[in-house]
């Protein structure tokens, strides 16, 4: 394995691995959110909740 291949492989593993995990959480979150009433997704429904959309701006 050449030095360049080793460097690219290491960088691709870390960035790709964590990136793929991040994408998986988003996809899984979307699928699960369909099954849960919005009032139980509590980071979206705090005191700053938008009354029109029901979506909050909270952290």
């Amino acid at each position: 394995m050449s030095d360049l291949v080793a460097i690219l492989l290491a960088w691709a593993l870390v960035i790709g691995g964590l990136g793929a995990y991040g994408l998986w959480t988003i996809t899984r979150g979307k699928a699960l959110a369909k099954l849960v009433p919005e009032d139980r997704q509590r980071w979206m429904t705090t005191e700053t909740t938008n009354t029109e959309t029901g979506k909050g701006e909270s952290a």
Partner: protein, 256 residues
């Protein structure tokens, strides 16, 4: 575009910082920093290897703190934070070992050495937390699972100082260099780049942990919704069954 249900303004900001920061790390670590005298360009693996190590430790420490909080307050929230942080710690730990192996082959002359205390203790640490994640998947009551896994998460932190100080305690039993950050042996731009890479790694860690926590929260809610739905449906079936029994006694009251 449908809004992402596990996002909030905080996670969006963290995501933006991660992506921009990653660009900066690629620019600095990939192009602007100089190669090392001895190992040449291979030193660039350090800019992903060290942040992966920091993310691993952070995941396990955050997991242990959250687990302690769970045992103290019995907070479901803390239990899920521990799960999320440790899962990301395990993924980072696997990446840490893999990037170390890729770096080790051309520099030390081996992908892996069973005689190396740093390498072996890191593997033990990661394996312990893989065990933690496996135990969380066993089908038991939520509270039993949370209590059991919290104890394991806290007990496993015993390995962290062993991994951290193994290179100092057994300096002749390891190929691994001692901590590079704390002894001021890095060049200015190299040190700056490594610091940026670590900060971005921690921002990415926070982003991933929050998202994963929300997914776990949703999973828990789905479990609860499923249970509530099943109870409601059973009640409905029971009342239908009673009606059926009244109108057709031969059915023996069994729900149809």
């Amino acid at each position: 575009m449908t809004p992402n249900p596990t996002s909030s303004s905080t996670t969006r900001n963290l995501g933006i910082v991660t992506i921009l920061g990653l660009g900066l790390v690629v620019l600095l670590g990939g192009f602007l920093t100089e190669p090392d005298d001895l190992m040449g360009d291979l030193v660039r693996i350090m800019y992903v290897h060290v942040p992966a190590a920091i993310m691993t430790y952070t995941g396990f420490v955050v997991g242990a703190i959250a687990s302690g909080f769970y045992l103290w307050k019995r907070s479901e929230f803390a239990d899920l934070v521990a799960h999320a942080a440790i899962e990301i710690g395990v993924i980072s730990g696997v990446l840490l070992i893999l990037t170390g192996a890729i770096w080790g082959e051309p520099t030390w002359g081996t992908y892996w050495s069973w005689q190396d205390v740093r390498l072996v203790s890191t593997l033990v640490l990661v394996l312990l937390y893989v065990g933690y994640l496996a135990i969380r998947q066993l089908p038991v009551d939520h509270h039993v699972r949370a209590r059991r896994s919290a104890v394991i998460a806290i007990a496993s932190t015993i390995m962290i100082p062993i991994v951290r100080y193994s290179v100092t305690w057994w300096s002749n039993r390891t190929l691994h260099q001692e901590a590079s950050l704390t002894d001021g042996k890095l060049e200015d731009l190299t040190l700056f780049t490594l610091m940026v890479a670590i900060v971005i790694g921690l921002v990415a860690f926070a982003w991933l942990t929050i998202h994963r926590f929300r997914v776990l929260w949703l999973e828990q809610q789905v479990d609860n919704v499923g249970l509530a739905g099943a109870i409601a449906e059973r009640r409905a079936e029971a009342s239908t069954g009673v009606e059926a029994a009244v109108t057709a006694p031969s059915a023996n009251g069994d729900p149809s």
